[in-house]
C-alpha cells in the first residue's frame, strides 16, 4: 500500500469515526459506523488479511450493524436535542481523548519498540487466506474456538431471556 493511498484511507477513517460520535441522530451515527467498518476492511486487505476483511464486512457491517439499526428503529429514537451547559465536560472529554491518543502515539515512538521499523517484506505463501487461518484456528487455538461456541450459545439464550416480555 503506497503512502498517499494510506493517508487518504486514514483521513476518511478518522472523519467517519468522528461522524459516529458527533452526529445527533443515532441512525446517522450507525451509518457512519458502517462506513468506518468498510474502510477498515479495505485497510485489512492492504495488510494481507483477506479473510479478516471479508469477515469484517459480513459479520460487522452486515450482522452487527443490522442489529443496531433494527434496535434503533424498533425503539423509534429521535435526534437528540442540542445539549447546553455541558461545554466544560465536553472540553475535558476531548482533552482526555487527545491525551490518550498522544500517549499511545508516543509509545510507538519509544526506543526498543517498533519505532523506525519499516514494514517487513513480502508475506509467505497463503498468508491471511482461509486455509492458513483455519489451520491455525483448528490446531493451536482449538480450545478457545470451542469455548467461543459456548459463549455464542449463552449469548443467544441470554438475549432471548432478556428481551422477552415478562407476563405474570
Amino acid at each position: 500500500m503506497s503512502l498517499p493511498l494510506f493517508l487518504v484511507f486514514a483521513a476518511l477513517l478518522v472523519v467517519s469515526a468522528l461522524g459516529v460520535i458527533l452526529q445527533r441522530s443515532p441512525v446517522r451515527s450507525a451509518m457512519s459506523l458502517v462506513s468506518t467498518l468498510f474502510l477498515l476492511a479495505a485497510v485489512f486487505v492492504f495488510l494481507d488479511a483477506h479473510l479478516v476483511a471479508l469477515l469484517q464486512i459480513i459479520v460487522y457491517a452486515g450482522a452487527i450493524m443490522v442489529l443496531f439499526l433494527f434496535v434503533i428503529m424498533l425503539l423509534n429514537l429521535q435526534s437528540e436535542p442540542r445539549e447546553t451547559g455541558r461545554v466544560g465536560f465536553r472540553l475535558v472529554a476531548a482533552l482526555a481523548g487527545s491525551f490518550l491518543a498522544l500517549e499511545v502515539i508516543q509509545l510507538t515512538r519509544a526506543k526498543g519498540t517498533v519505532a523506525g521499523l519499516g514494514m517487513s517484506g513480502a508475506v509467505p505463501e497463503g498468508f491471511g487466506l482461509t486455509e492458513t487461518l483455519g489451520e491455525r484456528l483448528f490446531t493451536h487455538y482449538l480450545l478457545p474456538f470451542e469455548i467461543t461456541s459456548v459463549l455464542l450459545l449463552v449469548a443467544v439464550i441470554g438475549a432471548v431471556v432478556l428481551a422477552k416480555r415478562h407476563t405474570s
Binding site: A17, F44, V59, F89, A101, T148
Partner: protein
C-alpha cells in the same frame, strides 16, 4: 510500504475517538457504537502486527474479538430493549438504578 507505526497511530486515533464518544454521548446506543469503534481500533493493531511479524496469530485473535463483539452486541441490545420497556428512555442519565 507504509511502516507499521502509521497503522498503530491510526489505531490510536480511532481508539481515542471511541473513548471520547463514550464520555460525551448520553444515548446508550451511541455509547455502544463507540465501544464497537474501540474494538475495531484494536483489531487494526492486531492485523498490522500480524502483517509485520508474518504471524497468523494476530488475525486469529481478531476472529475471536469479532465473535465476542457479536455476542456482546446481542446481549447489550437485549438489555437496552428491556430497559427501554420499563423506562421509555435510552439516556444514560435517567438509567441510574445501579447508582448509590
Amino acid at each position: 510500504m507504509v511502516p507499521v507505526t502509521y497503522y498503530l497511530v491510526l489505531s490510536a486515533l480511532l481508539f481515542a475517538i471511541g473513548a471520547v464518544g463514550v464520555l460525551i454521548r448520553r444515548n446508550v446506543i451511541v455509547i455502544f457504537m463507540s465501544i464497537e469503534l474501540m474494538l475495531n481500533a484494536v483489531n487494526l493493531s492486531f492485523v498490522a502486527f500480524a502483517r509485520q511479524w508474518h504471524s497468523m496469530d494476530g488475525q486469529v485473535i481478531v476472529f475471536f474479538v469479532m465473535t465476542v463483539a457479536a455476542a456482546e452486541a446481542a446481549v447489550g441490545l437485549a438489555i437496552i430493549i428491556s430497559m427501554f420497556r420499563g423506562r421509555e428512555t435510552t439516556n444514560v442519565d435517567d438509567l441510574n438504578l445501579l447508582r448509590w
